[in-house]
């Protein structure tokens, strides 16, 4: 236990995800030894992120105004929508540079055992976006785990009657690995989702 302010800082840092008591103590002493200007930059960054950042009113992604930069970008294909669970999934897909459509962030997945049902996610907002007929395809990019699969199943069942094309991200073998190390569930999915190779 340390004196007042130092212990307060350690306690607050220790509440952050992935930061244990030892790490919290190390960060606290690093901050104590750091220049005043460096610490002030960190304080300003924390202030700004809480003041300026909110969620896009259209897609639910992180934004610094009412709409995020992807929703306001006229170069993005407005007819294709990719549905993801969290804002960090948008970043992961953007890194691929393969997708030029827009996004819809659900805010999680359906998880009955934790009491999270369809009403707790941004599904009503998604259906609202699909109602004007401008979106022709929805790509379901929920996590490849059981909750993600079941959420995709629910969404496909809800969206399909609207006449919108619905697809699900493929699951299968990671690029650069050896086949023998793949687990049977992933390998089975790879067989299910195999594609024909046209003779070149």
């Amino acid at each position: 236990m340390y004196e007042g302010a130092v212990q307060e800082l350690i306690d607050e840092l220790g509440r952050l995800p992935g930061v244990g008591p030892k790490s919290a103590q190390r960060i606290a002493f690093h901050l104590l030894a750091a220049d005043q200007a460096d610490v002030q930059r960190l304080v300003d960054a924390l202030h700004h992120v809480k003041e300026r950042v909110s969620f896009c009113q259209t897609c639910g992604n992180i934004a610094e105004s009412e709409q995020c930069r992807i929703c306001t970008d006229p170069k993005r294909d407005a007819s294709v929508l990719c549905v993801v669970e969290e804002p960090k999934d948008v970043v992961a897909i953007e890194r691929t540079r393969e997708f030029r459509g827009r996004y819809h962030v659900l805010g999680g997945s359906i998880n009955p055992i934790e009491g999270v049902g369809p009403e707790d996610l941004r599904i009503r907002e998604l259906l609202g976006r699909l109602s004007d007929g401008s979106i022709l395809e929805v790509i379901l990019a929920t996590d490849p785990n059981l909750e993600g699969e079941a959420t995709a199943t629910y969404l496909a069942r809800t969206i399909s009657p609207l006449g919108v094309s619905v697809s699900r991200l493929a699951s299968g073998l990671p690029v650069g690995g050896d086949l023998e190390y793949a687990d049977e569930v992933t390998l089975g999915r790879a067989f299910e989702g195999r594609r024909r190779i046209e003779s070149g």
Partner: protein, 244 residues
């Protein structure tokens, strides 16, 4: 596999129901990474063979082999998934003590989930049969024939949750329900495993029976199940429902 919870950057805490050692919680390290070889096996519903080694507070998972990948078969159907999730939550709640052998609960859950994955009966019928039987195994067997208080042979008209089943006119407390005789027959069939009778039941009786089973369950496990209100009961278009 009953449940998974995120832990740290890439780990999960898993809850499993085992044949010999009852309910166990363990840490599975790195299973949220796409490179994990065991992450896909450690999903809820899956029937797996797990090797654990003892840790400080929780055990650690070292190896996993799949016996039956039930999760994949259930998650592709929203009605089956929501009904199956109630079965998992019930199994967790009815095995309140960790590491206390519960062979009957284990066998009941595995057979119920296999039946659900194999489309043997409507999901809500399998769910209600599982709930009645798991409550019976836990010592809360309802009576659908003789009076739950005095034992007078039935059939009787009144059903009382607090008393534990059907009640004769002499024992019937005020506020008892009066389900239809067909519903009582369905409940008895679900408890005894008479699937010929259960599969023939009309939707009206199925709905009434589900309501009584849910109320009976909630009464005995005290805290409500989170997953029960989220069960999708729109499966009625399936071929198993013959008498709409």
């Amino acid at each position: 596999m009953l449940r998974t919870q995120k832990l740290g950057e890439a780990d999960r805490i898993i809850t499993i129901l085992t044949r010999r050692n009852g309910r166990i919680r363990a840490v599975a390290r790195g299973v949220r990474k796409t490179s994990s070889r065991i992450g896909a096996r450690l999903e809820p519903f899956n029937h797996v063979d797990v090797q654990l080694y003892e840790g400080k507070s929780l055990d650690n998972v070292s190896q996993v082999e799949t016996i039956d990948p039930i999760g994949g078969k259930i998650a592709g159907d929203y009605a089956k998934w929501t009904a199956g999730t109630v079965m998992l939550e019930t199994a967790e709640r009815l095995t309140s003590e960790e590491r206390e052998p519960t062979v009957q609960q284990y066998a009941l859950l595995v057979s119920g989930l296999r039946s659900m994955a194999g489309d043997e009966h409507a999901p809500t019928l399998i769910l209600d049969a599982y709930l009645l039987r798991s409550l019976a195994v836990a010592g809360f067997s309802p009576s659908f024939d003789e009076c739950a208080r005095c034992g007078q042979p039935g059939p009787h008209k009144a059903f009382n949750i607090q008393a534990g089943g059907m009640m004769c006119p002499g024992c019937r407390p005020p506020g008892s329900a009066a389900p239809s005789p067909m519903t009582v027959a369905l409940l008895g069939a679900l408890l005894s495993g008479d699937w010929d009778t259960a599969d023939q039941a009309a939707q009206r009786e199925r709905t009434e029976a589900s309501g009584l089973v849910a109320a009976f369950l909630q009464w005995h496990i005290e805290r409500g199940l989170r997953s029960l209100p989220l069960v999708d009961r729109t499966w009625t278009n399936h071929a198993h429902v013959q008498n709409l």
